[in-house]
Symmetry: C2
Amino acid sequence: MKVIIMSRQERGKRDRVLQELLSRTDHPTAEELYLALREKGEDISLATVYRALRSLAEEGLVATLPLAPADRFDPLTHPHYHFHCHRCNQVLDLDLPYKPELDQAIEDLGFSVHHHTLVFHGLCPACQPKEELWRK
Amino acid sequence: MKVIIMSRQERGKRDRVLQELLSRTDHPTAEELYLALREKGEDISLATVYRALRSLAEEGLVATLPLAPADRFDPLTHPHYHFHCHRCNQVLDLDLPYKPELDQAIEDLGFSVHHHTLVFHGLCPACQPKEELWRK
DNA sequence: CTATTTGCAAACACTTTGCACAGCA
DNA sequence: TGCTGTGCAAAGTGTTTGCAAATAG
């Protein structure tokens, strides 16, 4: 009989998903997380990854970035902004301080603001030269 | 033989879709537009509505709001911000001036910014009292 | 007569769900 | 025992596409 004492974060697939997400900064999709976990030998199904992410998002442990064609997930729960490169389709965290005064302006209009999402669209530094090349 | 001289906006289903979208301020989904057009006696298919919206968006005549579960469409092409009420699920235009200085801050980080999208999330004025009632 | 637009149904991509079963309390 | 978590496959939802027929130029 084999006995394995599990540390807290090894209980349940949900925590494996969270662990994997926490280890990266590239805002993966559900499927990317699924493939990464499989790659690492984890025996998990795509349905479970979806279930885990939904549950984690509902508890506020991860943030969902509703992007087409597939949602991306962010382990950073404190409010921050994103850049979406329309060439490499990558999402990057931005080092721009959250601006609560924007919320205030909307509150003044009679809304009750929970938070705001700010996404910049364009070309990331790496893709700008490639784009110029492409146009020639 | 019946001859009908068509005015410009009556040519093609694409223009019917644009016309319908221009007539409203509630950021409808593709299906909502489809149903509205059918309601008005227009003989159109859902596929055509999707094709029309895609083509219009590519030409910059309408803006796409990528929201879950379905994209919403905005006839206002000049940049402006939105409020998404998480109770009635409505999207409202906000009367807050577009802030190009936000783009500048990101350009300074080495990105090439095309535009940014800013969505506030919370309760719209109409839904705040309802929400309080619900909590009791 | 050729090019474009359309409707229909099928295909598609992403996500959720029903169900049976495994593991744990 | 019963509760929770899981895999699998099927269903669900929003969107796109292949194709043949209709229409425009």
